[in-house]
Amino acid sequence: MESQDFIFLAGLLKTQSGLALTMDKTYLLNSRLQPVAEQYGLKTISELIARMRATLTPQLRQDVVEAMTTNETSFFRDVKPFEHLKDHVLPELLERRKQRRQLRILCAAASSGQEPYSIAMLMAEQSARLAGWNVEILGIDLDTRILKRAEEGVYSQFEVQRGLPVQMMVKYFDERPNQTWAIKPQIRKMVRYRQCNLLHPFADLGQFDIIFCRNVLIYFDHPTKRDVLDRLDGQLARDGFLFLGGAETVIDVTQRFVSSLHRGAYTPRPATETVRAVA
């Protein structure tokens, strides 16, 4: 790939999705953009880039950005965050919110829905404690195509076998033709989805008690990480919790969060200090 083409694409991805593309990821461009080129009737990625330089329609821009977005996910990914949520964070918030009886949870990179549905199943397992509560789970993602998959909630045999205990699979999924499994309507209805780019203002999403923003920041450069985290702080209740991915941290990125007592989660830093987060 010509260096000016790489610079053009890297610039586009940075401004549109925050993805910090480095030269060592050139192979990703080749494998992911070739299908987009073919979709537009073009033979090579060079031709695709020439088309983009000539007439970059919103649809073409979106197709390229979505093709470059990593959607790796699984049910109950990394296990521990969900154990912390169930064993520590949820009991704490249920006590603090017992008057209002409302919880709002944001999944800030919902991908194909495995994370928000994992949270929904976890909540369903706590249905006795949550009787009379209003629990809202909102999944957002940049990629509209992946959100459509999330809304459908239909997964391949491989996908339902990664991270999902079989007992939960038979309890919360229906068998479908062609070795696929559909999340049951009662769980699907617990989650709403909305297209949202973390680089853009998202204050209209409202305030949340728990934010999952896992395995997203790793793709951003340092200033973008700080910007996103600082704005997530604005959407998190002062006694709320932020969950990041295993390879992500707030340390040396922002002062707005501090590690909570629950490993892997952060809380907003108390006003008497400066900011807060959960790890």
Binding site: S74, R162, P165, V170, D174
Partner: protein, 121 residues
């Protein structure tokens, strides 16, 4: 190190599963059907059993029923690993005491994920 008994009438599947398990630092032994597996369990009970459903002489469900009836200090974790992927079959396996269930075809990711779920790795 945990020991896993791989029970499958297919030599290819046994070989594949043993390689994956060894990669995950799990020791292995093997049996070609449920009857062979029962004999094995009577002399040396493994920690984990990766169990096919359809086998000659004694099938996976028959083996599981007999295994769960055995009076032993610690029952092994049993993961079915089979082409039987219908909801009713999976539910029946859980009811008989299977700890996890792998639908074939499977890969190392799926096997590792299921082993994590039963705290075997």
């Amino acid at each position: 190190m945990s020991v896993c008994l791989v029970v499958d009438d297919s030599r290819v599947i046994r070989k594949l599963a043993i390689r994956m398990l060894n990669d995950l630092e799990i020791e292995t032994c093997e049996a070609r059907n449920g009857a062979e597996a029962l004999k094995h369990c009577m002399t040396a009970m493994p920690d984990i059993i990766l169990l096919d459903w359809n086998m000659p002489i004694l099938d996976g469900m028959g083996f599981l029923k007999r295994l769960r009836a055995m009076k032993v200090p610690v029952q092994p974790k049993v993961l079915f690993c089979t082409t039987e992927s219908e909801f009713t079959r999976i539910s029946a396996a859980i009811a008989e005491g299977a700890d996890e269930y792998i639908m074939k075809p499977f890969d190392e990711d799926v096997l590792a994920s299921k082993l994590r779920l039963i705290d075997a790795i």
